[in-house]
Symmetry: C2
DNA sequence: TGGCCATATCGACAAATGTCGATGTGAACG
DNA sequence: CGTTCACATCGACATTTGTCGATATGGCCA
């Protein structure tokens, strides 16, 4: 489940510009799959709307109504996929969204996108 | 796997505007999950780039390198989720993309989206 | 009408995934 | 130091999912 080099640029060849080959489709699908889960969408949403744009993992377990290991697992997936960054301060882990990563995905869904 | 009323409007509350509740997250995740597969992304891409914006199912099996039932299954999912429309003409089934549906999804990933 | 063709549906199965409880790790604090 | 706390990792398990071959459906044509 871990990649040496997350190839984000390859991720988002626009769907409607040219037919995707299998390799491109796999990379894009992996990115979308990370978002295609209610728990991870809510985590992303919670972090995005948190004061100062960052949220502590300790504040994310309760609202999700899932166990702490499960939350930790989902956060790790979001970080590995580049949608979140993690900064450990003392005993706590703080998360921030990476807007550029979301924008990259959006560009793949864009009609007639000029990926230049 | 079939819904009486596909609630597309509920689908795409912007992630970064307000924290998603579980129900909203489930709907959005379902939409993303449909796209989070290489075969379905390639189908969408093939239809989008086809001449006159429509493609016959008969031309989609070979490039995908999967069996005919598998292609049919993925096309059905894309239609049910609203990303494609199907029109049966004679013995053939013709598919078209629904750009508004993709745009709806894009709006959910939009930072600071004004969903008004 | 009978056969062929394109597509959809069915049933099955291996692989992937979300979830949990138990446990490991490492920082802070008395 | 030993304890506590926040978080990550591990191992397990039930469910979901992508895929296939076999078969059903329904239009077209000789």
């Amino acid at each position: 489940m871990s990649k040496a080099v997350p190839r984000f640029e390859e991720c988002c060849h626009p769907l409607t510009a040219a037919a995707l080959d299998e390799a491109e489709a796999v990379v894009l699908a992996e990115a979308l799959r990370v978002l295609a889960d209610p728990a991870r969408l809510r985590l992303l949403s919670l972090v995005a709307t948190a004061p100062d744009g960052e949220a502590c993992a300790c504040d994310l377990v309760e609202p999700l109504a899932r166990s702490q290991p499960t939350i930790s697992h989902h956060l790790a997936m979001l970080v590995e996929a580049g949608f979140l960054t993690r900064e450990k301060r003392g005993r706590w882990a703080w998360y921030r969204v990476v807007p550029e990563r979301l924008e990259l995905l959006r560009s793949a869904l864009q009609p007639e996108a000029a990926q230049a």
